[in-house]
Subunit: 355 residues, 2 copies
């Protein structure tokens, strides 16, 4: 199946494009009134995730509003710990909670790899529903949390600022920590491969909490496991490449290492200057990013200035996917997101070959 708008897929593979593709992390989310309406109908966030037709509906909402270059599966990274039996609940105001966190090394032994067409079938059904509704119009991005990021939630029992429980576990119980990360890497690999089989055109691994680690611990407890996952992904489906994106928030200091694990593209947050990042990764990977989501709170003229600066910093040539440096926040006026997307459309063609 050929995708009509393959600008994103080409950019992720550093192939020539006529303009820089653009999408938004968390583009189907609370900043959209139509999302809030659907969520209200669902009752709660997790029901929204677990009801394929509703997940499909919210996935498509931002595409009806904005000329985005990709859809991203509406789901949550904690579907895997939930399917492992840890008892997930999500209050969008407070954050996720796991009722049965990992507290002792022995707890790790009880974890198995969830069946993506069993406990996680609702995710694959959502992928199939979105793929079918989307037709060949746009690519669909699938995703999963990184093993380390999932382990953080599983060890903390929810979100955290300092990750004391998770870090203490890896430092005091390194063998059990590695067993936990191994089972998570297998689970994430199986899950992403199933998403690819169900119809996604690219996959992204979100390592939201890798940046909390020391350089040494990051390589040992996060990057090594993402590398294993990338190695197990099929390069192609039906003769078409399935690009992979790895994003470690706060991973700026380790960019060379991240670019070396076999992924096609690296997501960067806004703390990294994209010209420096491009110099550091060379031609190994494409780059995705990196507007500070807080810029979308400013006036549209300022948003355009900041978009222009990022495009100029990346400069001429291919291999750039425009995005935020992290998810769009609920406070953003949708018209400000629109201003950002419009600026990328208008300003980026000057940086590509055909111009």
């Amino acid at each position: 199946m050929k995708i009509d708008n393959d600008c994103l897929l080409r950019a992720l593979l550093r192939q020539p494009v006529v303009r820089t593709p653009v999408w938004l992390m968390r583009q189907a989310g609370r900043y959209l009134p139509e999302y809030r309406a659907t969520r209200a109908r669902a009752g709660d966030f997790l029901t929204l995730c677990k009801t394929p037709e509703l997940a499909c509906e919210v996935t498509l909402q931002p595409l009806a509003r904005f000329p985005l270059d990709a859809a991203i599966l509406f789901s949550d990274i904690l579907t895997i710990p939930d399917a492992m039996g840890l008892g997930l609940s999500i209050d969008e105001g407070i954050g996720p909670r796991l009722a049965r966190p990992i507290v002792a090394p022995g707890d790790v032994d009880r974890l198995g790899v969830p069946d993506p067409e069993g406990e996680l079938r609702y995710v694959m059904d959502a992928v199939r529903a979105i793929r079918s509704a989307l037709g060949t119009r746009l690519p669909l991005i699938g995703f999963a949390g990184s093993p380390w990021t999932l382990a953080c939630y599983m060890l903390e029992g929810g979100g955290s600022r300092e990750f004391h429980r998770a870090k203490r576990f890896v430092y005091d119980e390194p063998r059990a920590a590695h067993r936990l990360l191994e089972v998570l890497a297998r689970a994430v690999g199986v899950y992403l491969r199933a998403q690819i089989a169900a119809g996604v055109d690219a996959v992204m691994v979100f390592d939201t909490w890798g940046g909390a680690l020391s350089a040494r611990a990051y390589r040992e407890f996060s990057l090594a496991y993402m590398e294993r996952i990338i190695a197990t992904l099929p390069r192609e489906r039906d003769g078409r490449r399935i690009p992979s994106i790895v994003f470690t928030k706060g991973g700026g200091p380790w960019l060379e290492a991240i670019a070396s694990i076999g992924c096609d593209a690296v997501g960067i947050d806004w703390t990294q200057a994209i010209d420096d990042a491009r110099r550091r990764v060379g031609s190994r990977v494409a780059l995705q990013g990196n507007l500070d989501p807080a810029v979308l709170l400013a006036a549209p003229a300022r948003i355009e200035t900041e978009v222009a600066a990022i495009l100029a910093d990346f400069g001429h040539g291919d291999g750039h996917v425009f995005n935020l440096g992290h998810g769009i926040t609920p406070q953003v006026d949708p018209s400000h997101a629109g201003a950002m997307i419009e600026a990328v459309h208008r300003l980026s063609p000057a940086y590509h070959r055909s111009h």
Copy 2:
């Protein structure tokens, strides 16, 4: 006045030392039962800061327990906004609050530079009391928050996770933001010069929230103002150099730029590999850091392994001050801090010239 143990001062100036000096950010703090007792006597945190004899008492407490190479003034970075009339209160469990935050550009015009021997005399009195109690035994480090970090609190009215108010202000009102940062830079400069006159032997600028900015915004709104402050500091007092340390938490991606603003040393958090950091800054500055504070929650044997790894990564030669990558947390067992300090004493001489 010659300091008996000048190991810290020499290391900050990249002069030869027989072992790596060590101190802890927030070494006088809640992890110590004797600190908690004094604070209970004071009634609250701010009274502790504002009572010179109590500030002196808690400053000296960790020195009685551990063979540290420096005292650091017990105070808070928000003394300046408080002296500017913003109405500070601090609940150590919740964090600081400012009763009268900056909400509009016009609010900036009302801010003046506090007199360090007037509204802030209690800080200088604490410096004089500590200096007198300390004698010539150890160096005393003075400090201030960076203009950007103080501006964050003043615009948010307290702590924040995403700094939406502060960032929106700098993006939508850049002229007023620069006026705010200018008055703060003058206030911090006057304040640090007064601390030097009152007896501190080195100064440190804490840019706790610089790492929340984009690379571009960091240079414009944080680094430029720290550079101005450093330029106004006296190089010497009574013929002895007064070294300056700049610490931006999350500043790893911008290390070369930070090392170029004229400071003697750069503090690095634990996300930065110290061997990479040393390569990047070359011989321009000394480095201070960078054990993850969470490592102090682990067993002493693991703490020693991690200390050994940082010493080995920095390698042979001078210009390293051992510290945490951020403040010590209240949950740490004091004996674990002791294990870290002991490991630095025992393992670091092998990396210095005389061995």
